[in-house]
């Protein structure tokens, strides 16, 4: 299982990488494994606003459909449109193939998220 250093993680297995007040959001390697072959990603719309822990996207696999929750609150500024045609990219590399980029509302939202080491321990439980 791959875990990226320098990323933050949630208990729902989303990852977030923060750069200034922009954050990139995706699902972790653990999540894509658990979901199995991904067949569809319902992307949010640009300019949509979400609070931390709001469901903003749905990832559908051959097994189930899972809601994806915002690790941090903010406004969608970019979505990964490659996933429209090739949702399975998330299975290939969940860290390169992000879901969307957001403009942070409150940088303190990072509080309470896990770092790589904590996340690894969380997954091993």
């Amino acid at each position: 299982m791959k875990i990226m250093e320098g990323y933050y993680y949630t208990k729902n297995h989303e990852w977030v990488k923060v750069d200034g007040n922009t954050a990139i959001v995706g699902v972790s390697d653990y999540a894509q494994h658990a979901m199995g072959q991904i067949v569809y990603v319902e992307l949010p719309e640009i300019d949509d606003e979400f609070s931390k822990e709001d469901a903003f996207s749905v990832v559908e696999s051959v097994k189930a459909a899972s809601d994806i929750y915002m690790p941090v609150g903010g406004t969608i500024v970019e979505v990964n449109e490659d996933l429209d045609d090739e949702p399975e990219l998330i299975n290939t590399d969940p860290y390169t193939n992000y879901i969307c980029k957001i403009e942070l509302t409150d940088e303190n939202d990072i509080e309470g998220l896990m770092n790589a080491k904590e996340y690894e321990e969380f997954c091993d439980k």
């Binding site: 569809y40 319902e42 719309e45 949509d48 749905v58 559908e60 189930a64 459909a65 809601d67």
Partner: protein, 446 residues
């Protein structure tokens, strides 16, 4: 002793002895005394089978249906010709079952029949995807509205007052309990008031519902409606009459996002109001929001074609709170009927039915329009229904027609206070020239 219980007194006695119980009543000891029914059910005395069938027949005979009367009534349920092949195929035991056999291993026939139905609905409406069917035209419209709200994440639905009043009532019920705001677009001279639509459109409106041909039988100005709807990023929903689609522009050509309607016309009897057939189709972009069952074509491990239920993540057994709809049933037998009807008639046959409706309705309208007692309420293009303004009270006209074994039109006053003197008449391909002439003569002679 109940006639359908096979056990004799002796059987019962010996069974009770084996289990060591005194009486049948003793078996129910666990049921508290105070909640037991201590009287006989308040129903008639038992009757023999022969008596029951005679008794019921007497009731049934007091109904007058379209086999006994000449029908000029439409308003959402239509007396079209039903080819006799339909009942022979639908009554086959493989199809004629209350159970929905969806396990692909044993249900290829049923699944393929539904797939064919879906394909035909797509072709008829000019859309990409159709579901396996819904209860009826009204609930299909309501499901379409919920779907539009889900897809746009907006919370208002605009519906034209030229949409069938019954459909609007069902829509009201569905939206009320979902916290969706339903706004009505005024009717003006028999069609949707375009200015009113323009004024009421905003970025909270998820979709606009227009019926075409509308409740008064008139062809709406769909291109205007489409432009206004899409300009504010709402979805265009067209409630269509499937027979008319053989000769009119398809909803797909008008740029509809969701198409809904009543499929009773497609070979289904009037059935005293149901069961009917709701159809719904949409663009590929919206297919993951479509409610209900969808059958798809797939391949088995050997590369052979097969049919399965597909895109099930939309459905409530996968994600209960996020499902597009809680609908699980479809109207399989009615959908099959529609598929047989459409394949029996074929493209040309369906066009012929539609053209006959159009011609005969226009012939009737022309005759009535010449009368001194009646006038055509609207001067707009119509399909097979038209509104007649009457100088004689509508209920009086209908009473006189019924007296002559004719089922007259729909009295509009109950739903539209501005059309208190009006009757909505419908002429399908089944009506003959003589029947139309008789109708006009009786109306004229009043």
């Amino acid at each position: 002793m109940f006639p359908y219980l096979p056990h004799t007194e002796e059987d019962i006695k010996s069974m009770l002895e084996v289990i060591g119980v005194e009486s049948i009543d003793a078996l129910f000891d666990d049921v508290p005394e105070k909640i037991r029914l201590k009287k006989l059910l308040n129903i008639n005395e038992p009757m023999s089978e022969l008596e029951v069938s005679q008794y019921m027949k007497k009731f049934a005979d007091s109904n007058k249906g379209v086999d006994d009367l000449i029908c000029f009534l439409g308003a959402g349920a239509y007396d079209h010709y039903i080819p006799s092949i339909i009942k022979h195929i639908t009554s086959r035991s493989e199809f004629y079952t209350a159970y929905t056999p969806y396990q692909p291993e044993i249900s290829q026939g049923t699944l393929q029949a539904i797939f064919e139905y879906q394909s035909m609905i797509c072709e008829l409406t000019g859309m990409d995807v159709a579901n396996a069917s819904l209860y009826d035209g009204s609930t299909a419209t309501a499901e379409g509205a919920l779907m539009a709200c889900g897809a746009t994440r907006r919370n208002k639905i605009a519906v034209s007052r030229t949409v069938s009043p019954g459909t609007r009532k069902v829509l009201e019920t569905y939206t009320k309990y979902k916290g969706i705001e339903l706004i009505e677009i005024e009717e003006n001279d028999g069609v949707t008031d375009i200015d009113d639509l323009r004024n009421k459109m905003d970025k909270d409106v998820a979709g606009v519902i227009v019926q075409n041909p509308n409740f008064f039988g008139i062809i709406e100005n769909m291109s205007e409606v489409e432009k206004i709807t899409h300009d504010s990023k709402g979805l265009l929903m067209i409630n269509a009459d499937p027979i008319s689609l053989a000769i009119l522009k398809t909803p797909g050509e008008y740029g509809a996002d969701i198409v809904i309607g009543e499929g009773q016309s497609l070979g289904n009897p009037l059935n005293f109001g149901g069961p009917y057939l709701g159809f719904i189709s949409c663009t590929k972009k919206l297919m993951r929001k479509l409610p209900g069952r969808i059958v798809g074509q797939a391949e088995d491990v050997n590369g052979k074609r097969g049919f399965v239920l597909t895109l099930q993540a939309r459905e409530q057994h996968i994600r209960r709170d996020k499902a597009t709809s809680n609908i699980t049933s479809n109207q399989g037998l009615n959908a099959l009927t529609a598929a047989i009807y459409l394949s029996t008639l074929g493209k040309e046959g369906l066009k012929e039915v539609a053209k006959n409706c159009l011609k005969k309705a226009h012939y009737a309208a022309e005759l009535i329009g010449k009368s001194s007692k009646y006038e055509l309420r609207f001067n707009k293009p119509f399909f097979m229904e038209f509104v007649v303004k009457s100088s004689i009270k509508p209920e009086k006209v209908n009473k006189e027609l019924l007296h002559n074994n004719i089922l007259g039109g729909y009295e509009l006053g109950g739903d539209y206070s501005n059309y208190n003197d009006d009757i909505l008449l419908c002429v399908t391909e089944k009506r003959t020239k003589k029947q139309i002439d008789d109708l006009v003569n009786i109306m004229e002679g009043m």
